[in-house]
Structure formats: C-alpha cells, structure tokens
C-alpha cells in the first residue's frame, strides 16, 4: 500500500501541505505571542517553511544531488537552482535574526521591557 506514496504527485502534495502547516504554525506564533524574541523565532519558523517548500516542490525521487563526476552527464540530477536560492535566503535570514536580537537586547537594557504591548515610548 505504500507504493501510493512514491508517486511524484503525492510527494508534491505532502510537501505543499506540510510546508503550509509549518508556515501557519509560525504565523500563529507571530500573531499571538507578546515576547519579542518569540516573535523573531516565529518569523524563523515561517522562513523554514518557505525553504521546505522551495526544495521539496522541485524534488524528484530518482534524481541525485547535483554533483557531477564526469562533465557530460546532465539528465539524472536534481534542479540546482532552488538549492542556490535557498542558500542565499538562509544567510539573509540569519543576518536579519542576529540584527533583530541585538536590537531587542539593547532595548531591554535601556527600558527593561520585552512585552510588545508595553513598548509605547513613541506614543506620547
């Protein structure tokens, strides 16, 4: 009965629905949490869902990783473009996360607050 899961349509649908579920887990955390570090972690979970979607939606079962041994065989490899795009996206996401965490640390040092509901210095 498990041969059903080896067909490429089913694998694509599992990837699409699973990454959507993970994305909505991150979105739920982003909308409901009040601690600022938890908000950054929710954004990181949403980014992970996007990476899974990009890598998995162009994944083929019989293809191998795009590392060539000889210069002229091209047919059996996976698509190298999503790997390169996601490599870029991971580095940018890490930079954004480090910068946001450093902002949060400096803000906590100045005001002693981590809850985003109480961050109202600019209101008055």
């Amino acid at each position: 009965m498990f041969e059903f899961f080896n067909s490429p349509e089913v694998i694509n649908i599992i990837v699409i629905i699973g990454s959507m579920l993970l994305f909505f887990v991150g979105l739920f955390g982003l909308l409901t949490q009040k601690h600022i570090i938890k908000i950054f972690m929710s954004i990181a979970i949403m980014e992970t869902a996007v990476y899974l979607f990009f890598i998995g939606s162009l994944f083929k079962l019989d293809a191998i990783a795009p590392i060539m041994k000889v210069a002229d065989d091209t047919s059996k490899f996976n698509d190298p473009i999503p790997h390169a795009m996601i490599l870029t996206a991971i580095v940018i996401a890490m930079a954004v996360f480090a910068l946001g965490v450093s902002f949060a640390i400096e803000y906590y040092k100045l005001s002693g607050k981590t809850n985003i509901d109480t961050m109202n210095e600019m209101r008055h």
Binding site: A71, T88, A98
Partner: protein, 235 residues
C-alpha cells in the same frame, strides 16, 4: 434553541465544510500538479559541463550569480555592522559565569578538529557538498566554542577587520580583473580546462572566490557571535 446548541451545530457544520474544502483542494492538486515540466536548471546543467565545476550549486552561486553573492555578503557585513553598533558601546561588562573543567578540556580537543573540518568544507566547496558559507559558519562555531570555554579570551578586533577587509577587497578586485580582461564582471579569466573536471585545481576563479567568501563569512559570523556572547549575560 439555546445559544450553546446553535453554536455546536455551527461548529460542526463549519468543520464539515472545511474538511470538504480541504479534500477538494487536495483532489484538485492531485490532478493538476505538473510532473514532467521543463526545469529551469536543465540549461544550467548543460552549461555547467563546459564552464563550471563539479558541484553545480557552487557554479550557480559563485559564477552565474556571482554579483548577487557579492551583494549578499554586503548584506551580511551590514548586519554585523549593526550588531557591533548596537552592542559594542559599553565594554565593561563581560561573561561572569566560569565554565567548568569538562568544557575547558573538551574545547582544547575539539577546536582544531572543527577548524580543520571548516577549512576542508571551504576549500573543497567546488567538488563536494559545502562551500564558503557553510565553512565560514563552521569556523565561527569553533570560535564560539573557544569563547564560551575561556572567559578571558577575546578575538582581537584588528585581526577580524583585517581579514574581512582583505576578503572583500580581493572579491571586488577579481571581479574588476574580469571586467578588464573581458567585458564581463567576474569573468572567469583563468579559463577552466575540461580535462581537469573534478580535480582540486579546476574551475578557474570559482574555488578562489568561494574561499574568499568563506573567509569573509567566517570573520563576520565570529564578530556577531563574540558581540552577542559578551553582552548577553548581564541582561
């Protein structure tokens, strides 16, 4: 009819409706997912066998999208600059917790192994999985191990900034040399030979550029790690 009962029937009908919607969505997806599409990477795979290196992802990142990678490490530099501006002002507070004996002796054993593995991943990035970004992060993790085991240690700021400046300047200089010798920025002026495919010395400027990217990423990540570690203990 009470409010509670009407609410429960509403919830039940809502669940049924959403389950039907999800099932029909899955059905539509099952019938319409394209399986044998012409992939965008097929042309790149064919092009790679004439002017690339063994790892096709490295060819895409460093050669076909080399200018984007230059912008990407510029973004990483700006992020580390922002972390430094935020956290490096008051330098009197450092780590107060003394690390235990196990961490101190294990870090002496593990630090050279992690450094060697990071350099291996960096240098063989055009032949095997890995590359400059991954090797740079590995080197930065070795620096992190050294920093949490020895609280008095501080990586000198001059070394980090010298490494990073050297790497950035040499990346731009290699690109400008391509612009000078041909009319393309980051032109592969070392002209890769197809007989060398899969060897360590192959691919022209691609492994050189990826090692430069590794040095830059390693120094920037080490800078970010050091700043976050030195400041995070007193808040």
């Amino acid at each position: 009819m009470s409010i509670k009962r009407s609410l429960s029937t509403l919830t039940l009908s809502g669940f049924t409706l959403s389950a039907l919607l999800i099932l029909s969505f899955i059905n539509i997806l099952l019938q319409n997912v394209a399986t044998n599409i012409e992939r965008a990477g097929d042309g790149l795979l064919k092009l790679n066998s004439s002017e690339g290196v063994a790892n096709v992802v490295t060819t895409v990142v460093v050669y076909f999208r080399g200018f984007d990678t230059l912008g990407e490490i510029a973004v990483l530099f700006i992020a580390s600059l922002g972390v430094g501006l935020m956290l490096e002002r008051n330098t009197e507070c450092t780590i107060k917790v003394q690390s235990n004996f196990m961490l101190q002796s294990a870090s002496k054993l593990l630090f050279p192994i992690i450094i060697i593995f990071g350099l291996y991943v960096m240098i063989y990035g055009h032949l095997s999985p890995g590359g400059g970004f991954q090797g740079g992060v590995l080197v930065a993790s070795a620096v992190l191990l050294l920093l949490i085991s020895n609280k008095d240690l501080e990586v000198p700021h001059a070394v980090i900034s010298a490494l990073e400046t050297l790497a950035g300047v040499s990346y731009v200089l290699i690109g400008l040399m391509g612009l000078l010798l041909s009319d393309v920025f980051l032109f592969n002026f070392l002209s890769p030979n197809i007989a060398d495919f899969g060897l360590l010395l192959s691919g022209g400027i691609i492994p050189i550029v990826y090692i430069i990217v590794g040095i830059k990423v390693g120094s920037e990540m080490g800078f970010i790690v050091q700043n976050l570690l030195k400041r995070s203990d007193d808040v």
